[in-house]
């Protein structure tokens, strides 16, 4: 994560390892399996947040069952204390999220729900009203992992989000290099990259992560 900070990242998303990551492709699945086998616990995410949040804003990315088991209120208190800004919840939709939204608001944390190309305008409006911080728009229909091209529907989705809310819009899923980052930055407020950075860490350690971050950051600022 420090390599990412050095590489010019604007904010960091810290994932909580979960045994059944239904929104993640093979790269993150393998990483999560390794983390859990290595003894990673839910509470460790707060240590990671504490480490980097003085340098850049951090949000947690967590599947719902570990967060619920930890206790939504307790999770929010501990995340706030660690210096976190909010949490992205990929398998939680606003309809099922009242306990988490209440807990997050109480700590002035940002609950971040996702919108997808298949979302209706009505649902996008609900997410826009419920979220704080930003709206996470998934560039494609699918799971995490690098793709050769950014979906053409991403731009259209961002426009639909802007019609419903003034919150900034971040686009993620499939973005893996500076070229794609530049393209997405042309219509979105933020570019979200996950699996490509995990793969970089796997293949080349922190040096490779720093290199990729520099490439992505340069792309965004092109």
């Amino acid at each position: 994560m420090l390599a990412m900070v050095e590489g010019g990242v604007d904010a960091i998303e810290v994932g909580v390892p979960y045994s059944d990551p239904g929104m993640d492709g093979p790269v993150i699945q393998v990483a999560v399996d390794a983390a859990l086998r290595g003894g990673s616990r839910v509470a460790h995410v707060f240590d990671a947040v504490r480490e980097v949040s003085p340098r850049v804003p951090t949000v947690v990315m967590g599947y719902w069952n570990p967060m619920e088991k930890y206790g939504p209120a307790r999770f929010a208190v501990d995340l706030k204390a660690a210096g976190g800004s909010g949490a992205i919840t990929p398998d939680l939709i606003p309809e099922e999220a009242q306990p988490w939204v209440d807990a997050a608001y109480a700590q002035e944390l940002a609950p971040v729900f996702l919108v997808a190309p298949s979302s209706t305008d009505e649902r996008i409006a609900t997410v826009g009203r419920t979220n704080r911080g930003f709206v996470y728009a998934t560039a494609v229909m699918g799971v995490t992992g690098a793709r050769s091209a950014v979906g053409s529907r991403a731009e259209e989705l961002v426009a639909r989000v802007r019609a419903q809310t003034d919150l900034p819009v971040g686009v993620g899923l499939g973005i893996s290099n500076g070229e794609q980052a530049a393209q997405v930055a042309g219509f979105a407020d933020a570019v979200i990259v996950g699996a490509a950075l995990v793969a970089a860490l796997r293949d080349g350690g922190p040096a490779r992560v720093r290199q990729l971050t520099e490439d992505l950051a340069a792309g965004v600022r092109r």
Partner: protein, 416 residues
């Protein structure tokens, strides 16, 4: 009050814990299911398929030698093993295949544990001309190699899943990932009363014919309702299917038998209702086997079809309300029951179903006076797929014979 409510909740259970990308497809499916139930053409077409293709109604067999064995109580077997493809799974799959067609989709995907649901889905896909992909844990493809071959013969692609625990839970994750990416052309035919709304209610509706038939057949045969209805519970579709018509009959005990593995007190089992806690897995809130961090725990069962850490949300609701009772049945008790049923009735049931037979024996032994009792047992599937497992369990073949047979098979494979 009918359950679930409009948002798919059975009390605190059920709901939708899914990526936003799937919500539109779940809404579309719910709407297709709702309107199809009121469409006489749809209902007639499903009825025609169930009758002329799946072989319904399945019989209720008066198991007389088994009754003698248990001291006189009347044991009636609901013979889902006689349905086409060898289990109750076909009831659900034919309904979902018709819905797939109704929604204009051309591809179905499925997860499978023992392979029964995969075979049923591959069968329906062949019948309807759909492309079909079945996800199956790598461990299960080994345990149930015969069913892998059946699916491939039927034209389906079988994808072994090697992530996580390499069993049904991980096959389900993989099917969800496929669905998120291909949801506009693909229907995910979930095989049990699990998953996000509307699946638990929809699959129950397609399976409730088991109980509707069994209830009437019992009245016709015995002249009264049974004292108990017993079924095995993995995800819980055959149990929900046979229980549902009996829910208003308060005097009929409903007994669900989970996989007790090595024993519920050993921790090595697959019995979330008996020894788990509420949580969220695969799109719904229900009981599940999880550790203190909410990570899903590894399950243990001799039965691939019951080797699953979660369970349908309506079962969670029935457990809490006390309307149904759930117990763990060990591998050893299930296999003993499988042998008794084979030797007394000439019925070789699936290992999954053997858990229900064993549970019925246990329930009867707990009754003060059992000889005038009537018990309906869901014989949810046939045991052809399990002969290999059973042969090893009972030592019917020696280790040398198994090794030799595999050598011969491998050798035959080398011939041109």
């Amino acid at each position: 009050m009918t359950l679930p409510d409009a948002t798919g909740h059975f009390g605190p259970y059920g709901g939708r814990f899914v990526p936003e990308a799937l919500v539109a497809a779940l809404d579309e499916l719910g709407e297709a299911h709702r309107t199809s139930q009121q469409d006489p053409d749809f209902v007639a077409e499903l009825d025609r398929l169930l009758t002329t293709y799946a072989g319904r109604p399945t019989p209720l067999t008066d198991a007389r030698r088994l009754s003698e064995h248990v001291g006189g109580a009347r044991v009636l077997l609901k013979r889902e093993d006689l349905a086409h493809t060898g289990s109750h799974k076909i009831n659900n799959v034919l309904g979902q295949a018709l819905l797939t067609k109704r929604m204009g989709k051309k591809r179905v995907i499925a997860e499978t544990g023992a392979g029964q649901h995969g075979v049923a889905t591959a069968t329906a896909a062949a019948l309807f001309g759909f492309d079909c992909t079945v996800y199956m844990g790598e461990e299960d493809t080994r345990r149930q190699a015969l069913n892998v071959a059946r699916m491939r013969l039927l034209g389906a692609e079988v994808v072994p899943v090697s992530t996580g625990t390499k069993t049904l839970k991980d096959a389900t994750n993989e099917a969800f990932r496929d669905w998120v990416a291909n949801v506009e052309t693909t229907h995910y035919a979930i095989g049990s009363v699990v998953g996000p709304h509307p699946f638990p209610a929809m699959v129950r509706d397609f399976q409730r014919i088991i109980g509707v038939e069994a209830r009437q057949q019992c009245l016709d045969l015995v002249g009264r309702l049974p004292d108990a209805v017993v079924a095995c519970v993995g995800g819980g579709s055959n149990a929900m299917g046979i229980f549902h018509a009996f829910l208003p009959d308060a005097d009929v005990a409903l007994i669900g038998c989970e996989a007790g593995g090595d024993g519920v007190d050993t921790g090595r089992h697959a019995a979330p209702l008996t020894a788990g806690s509420p949580g969220v897995l695969h799109g719904a809130r229900s009981y599940l086997m999880q550790d203190e961090d909410g990570q899903t725990q590894t399950t243990t069962s001799i039965s691939a079809g019951l080797d699953y850490p979660g369970v349908g949300p309506e079962h969670a609701y029935l457990r809490d309300s006390g309307r149904a009772h759930y117990r763990g049945v060990t591998d050893a008790d299930a296999m003993a029951a499988l042998e008794v049923l084979a030797k007394k009735e000439g019925i070789l049931c699936a290992i999954e179903s053997a858990h229900a037979v064993a549970g019925a024996f246990q329930w009867l032994s707990e009754q003060a006076e059992s000889s005038d009792r009537v018990v309906v047992v869901s014989c949810s599937g046939r045991g052809d797929k399990d002969v290999d497992t059973a042969a090893r369990w009972f030592g019917l073949v020696t280790a040398e014979e198994v090794a030799e047979a595999e050598l011969v098979r491998a050798h035959e494979g080398e011939q041109p």
